[in-house]
Symmetry: C2
Subunit: 310 residues, 2 copies
């Protein structure tokens, strides 16, 4: 079934201990779309500037991503430049040019209105809420992401809390979960966030994988959270987009399944980790562009061997 | 089969956000022994002072731990006092009195020489090496632990590297692994440490569980590491001894099995995590004193549900 994603399509400049690129295709919606495209049909709502190249749009199209919702407008595309130190867990942002994103007013094209799934990538919660409302009553499941900036700024926070009421599955990291809940312990934070709206909460632990927690009685019921690993990787070249690729694998797999139960979510956690692990092997979206479903399923098996007994 | 542990039997003063105790039974060998006692017969080599109470020795004896190797000597027992902040991951040491440990010269009693397994808890690598030599040619598998102090101090480091040559399974945390290898990345550190002697390396990730890495062709062969989770716990009251309890569950389970293959190690990783998760629920060794094998196996199932698909 089809999934609609709203978020950034952008250019990135990236430096890591493994090398650097001055400018490459990036943006949360781009990583998400490419990762999800191996599982289901993806539609993007985003905005780009006059510098956005046909070749880059063709990369998305070659993965059957519907780009009709990408608005082309005057000015330059969103640009982000960052650097990773020896500890690859966190990027140091060197430059952020919002450019055309500054006046982004996302409109869901009529052709997208029958989308079954929706993912609100990390953008202003007001815009996330707008798109959510445009899809009201139509979608089966809404996933969402956010970041520290929207969580901690008092005005944005109010908007975020409003938007979270319409998000079924929130995907954030440990730090974001603690900040959002105002708690120092993740288990306590989980309980608070699950009272803010989301029926499931995926907490990403970077190199240690991710855990999904459920509101009781949701998605078939059951008491337990589920933890998926990350791969112990020798060769992380560029961590950019790992979280968005996780979300793409996770939501893409969910959208490809008939049943929205806990077993589906468990496998989705693995596919999320798998797509994240591919994304970081090369700079930008390079690795995500050239995968096969066979490679993806082979790595899924590696994740299984890494965690399963007997 | 029986397992011999050499390490500290001590008293601890502990403060955490959940409360405090002025003085309770502690020490790496104590936590290890109690955790391992649910799986196999344990023998301790340690030293205590005149303040060591009969009641505390009876706690060990009631778990069928052989305490004949605990040397009683003039002076006071090893004493440690520490405090945990809101982030329970690391203790701030407020006081360390080595006392009788200062002149500890571990002697393996003749009755212990037929032990099948040996665990070298975190003490001076010279003493670890001494005990290792006393058991030469007898034991089937040697486990070991160490800490930053022995790793980074140039003199101790030399002794540690010598001792590591005789350790089959080393259990340390991420930071210790990176320090030991002089690497900033865990996967690279793993490869280096596996060239120092150990045939298997268990890296503990605190709240994120632990991963075991194998030297190729060892323990039945196979390419993949194995990752066990930790429980997302609401109620960590006192993290003291979590690592030693992990080691006790891990080595105790291994010692209870006939085959030293990778499936045994996988289950041992789970039992390690299980015993660590019990240890932190109460202050000191309280929770480890009162467990049943049924409770342990029930939590093993929880770990399984947390990680296994289908």
């Amino acid at each position: 079934m089809s999934i609609l994603v709203v978020g950034s399509v952008a250019y990135d400049g990236i430096k890591s201990p493994a090398g650097s690129v001055d400018r490459c295709l990036g943006g949360a919606a781009t990583y998400f779309s490419l990762a999800a495209s191996y599982f289901t049909q993806v539609r993007i709502v985003a905005v780009v500037g006059e510098d956005f190249s046909k070749q880059d749009e063709d990369i998305l199209r070659s993965h059957k991503v519907d780009t009709r919702g990408i608005e082309h407008t005057k000015g330059k595309s969103f640009f982000w430049r960052g650097e990773y130190g020896e500890n690859l867990n966190e990027a140091k942002t060197l430059e952020t040019q919002l450019n055309v994103f500054q006046s982004f007013n996302p409109q869901v094209p009529a052709e997208y209105l029958d989308s079954d799934y929706l993912f609100l990538a990390n953008i202003d919660p007001v815009l996330q809420g707008d798109v959510r409302r445009q899809m009201d009553g139509r979608v089966k499941l809404v996933g969402g992401d956010t970041m520290n900036y929207w969580i901690t700024d008092p005005n944005h926070r109010q908007n975020l809390l409003e938007t979270l009421k319409g998000v079924d599955v929130l995907l954030i990291n440990d730090t974001e979960a603690k900040l959002l809940a105002g708690e120092t312990s993740v288990p306590r934070a989980v309980q608070k966030v699950l009272r803010m709206g989301p029926r499931a909460l995926v907490i990403k632990h970077g190199e240690y994988g991710a855990t999904v927690f459920f509101k009781e009685d949701e998605f078939g019921g059951g008491r337990h959270p589920f933890r998926a690993p990350a791969l112990p990787m020798d060769e992380v070249r560029d961590p950019t987009g790992a979280g968005d690729s996780f979300a793409g694998g996770f939501m893409g797999y969910v959208a490809s399944q008939k049943k929205l139960d806990r077993e589906t979510f468990k496998r989705a956690m693995f596919y999320g980790g798998v797509m994240g692990s591919f994304a970081v092997e090369r700079f930008g979206t390079e690795r995500l562009q050239s995968l096969t479903r066979e490679e993806i399923d082979a790595r899924y098996q590696v994740f299984r061997e890494l965690t399963h007994i007997g």
